[in-house]
């Protein structure tokens, strides 16, 4: 089997392992709701709902099992002139964005990630398809990264 897509000499900076907790809770809530809905339907004597329960449970197990790998698959790298970001294990995607292309940086915190002290950083360019969103950064790191990005973008400012 051919080896996976990789940029060999890259040393990836990983996101906080605490992201696993919030991802797991998200998985539990989402598929848990599916399982609960299945049981509710079962209580109305809808026999086929057993398959809903089984399916949701299977999805839950697979998702939960892959959570740690998925979180470890997130990575970013601050190179000389651009930001490189990777995510995904099954569907791997690596993006390189020159700093000068930055239009704005967003930091968002949901209630769950705030409880864990995590932030999500979004790097927005003029192209919607760039889609660089780094989840699971420690609050302090996210703010530092944002300030750094704004600073380097300012020194390499370019048009569209």
């Amino acid at each position: 089997m051919p080896n996976r897509l990789e940029l060999p000499e890259q040393e990836w900076r990983r996101v906080s392992p605490k992201l696993m907790i919030s991802e797991l809770i998200g998985t539990v809530v989402f598929w848990g709701l599916g399982i609960v809905a299945g049981f509710v339907l079962l209580s109305f004597e809808w026999e086929w709902a057993i398959w809903l329960v089984v399916g949701a449970a299977a999805c839950f197990v697979v998702n939960a099992a892959l959570t740690s790998r998925r979180v470890r698959a997130y990575g970013y790298q601050l190179r000389e002139d651009d930001l490189v970001f990777r995510r995904g294990i099954m569907f791997l995607r690596i993006v390189a964005v020159p700093y000068g292309r930055m239009q704005l940086v967003d930091i968002t915190r949901g209630p769950l990630s705030r409880a864990l002290g995590l932030s999500e950083l979004k790097f927005v360019t003029a192209a919607a398809s760039t889609a660089v969103t780094i989840p699971g950064l420690l609050e302090h790191d996210a703010e530092e990264l944002r300030d750094h990005l704004v600073r380097v973008a300012e020194s390499r400012r370019a048009g569209l």
Binding site: D82, A96, A126, A127, S129, T130, G159
Partner: protein, 526 residues
Amino acid sequence: MTDLPQGTPEHGTPAAQPAVSPTAVSLTDGEWHRMHPASPLLKGGIALIAILGVVIANLRERLFSIFLPEFSAEGDPVDYVLDNGYIGFALLALAIFLVVLIGAFYVSWRMHSFRITNEVVEVRSGILFRTNRKARLDRIQGINIVRPFFARLFGAAKLEVNQAGADANVQLSYLGSAAADDLRREVLRLASGARDPGASAADSASPAGHLIERRVTELLAPELDPNAAPPESIVKISVLRLIGSIVLSGTTVALLLAIAGAVVSVVVWRNFGLLFTLVPAIIGFGSYYVNRFTKSLRYSIAGTPDGVRVGFGLLSISNETLPPGRIHSVLVSQPLLWRATGWWEIKVNRASQSSVKGASGQANTTIMPVGDRGDVMRVLALLLPKLTDDEMVALLESGMTAKGAPGDGFTNSPKRAAWLRWFSWQRNGFAITPDAVLLRKGAIWRELIVVPNPRVQSVSVSQGPLYRACGLASVHLHTVSGPISAQLGAVDQDTAVDFFRTVAEVTIRAVAADTSHRWRSGEAAT
């Protein structure tokens, strides 16, 4: 009115009418100027015509009875007014209405002003709700002069300064036709960063002659300012070719399929109800064809020192200038049905969205609706002036038509991708040059995508489970959104990583060297 600045020289003297002055130099002096006096009428024109239409429709019976007394009408408002002796009130109401209307028009004209400095173009408008919009000149994505048919009768035109983003245009509506042309030239000169005003500020000789004669000339001439652009378009689309291209489009295939389906269903299942549901569809198709046809009539494209100028339209004309470096990617494509005739279509991605729809109803992204290979080469030379040497032209040619072979300038997909790209795997590839990235795709629907390096926003490489199993990957160049998505699938994995690295480096270098936001600043310094 009190908020007009003190420095306005024509304050209180509306007779001066600076906006219709033929010399644009006075318009770009950084002072506030007003629009064409007919602007409120032109903007509210359709509503006014509708009101007039209603009034005339109501009066029609009255006119009949005046000229043909044997007809007698009952129950129309005019009768009512006459019968009850309200004629005085009616006339008074009409007079008040007219006075209010004219007053409102006058005030809105007085309150609508614009100014152009070396840095910005700024517009203020509105009576109760004031609007103030300012746009930086070095961020201009295009300048569009629109002449709706109604406005052309008044010799007026709308100048639109396009900025990146949705609803981000500054509209100067309306200006005198000649003033709009002068102003476009001046704004482009200021935006270009050229420091020599003498070169383009040469006084424009307004066409001499009687007013009516001038209007007629303006109505017939495709481009008002022969000094600023070569009068000859580099591509000519004959009416026959235009009709042919529309008839041979994919829409026709869809229409024929729909008709065939309907016929089959009627013959086989005796389902006549379906015929009625088909009627609106056919009307829709018809209006699409007519719309596309009239929008593409009198198409012209020409190069100017300040960018590419594209014009469309028969009755309502739109004429847009795209300065250098405002084109984010170019797609040259050939639908299957055009193969026999050798026609191609060119589309672009651009950051701005014009308020005027271009050919085929899209937001002015179709730069060339139809043309042969020579036309494509001429238009590409305009759109991508850096890609004109022989080697590049050969590369572009091979990108358009070649079947694909190893070592033809493109890095193509490996043989193991053949089961994913049945017909096109030999052709499916990319080429990286110092100025642009070329993606070549499709053997049945041939496509060539050219992305200038300084316009690449970011680059990505991705791989799903299927691609991983065959050691393939897909690459994607991100540009501003538009009809083109510069994506190439089924590339060899290691090649894709090389592509990713090379493009990331090349882009950074190109962006650093790019000066197209002030496209003539370089030559002014030398």
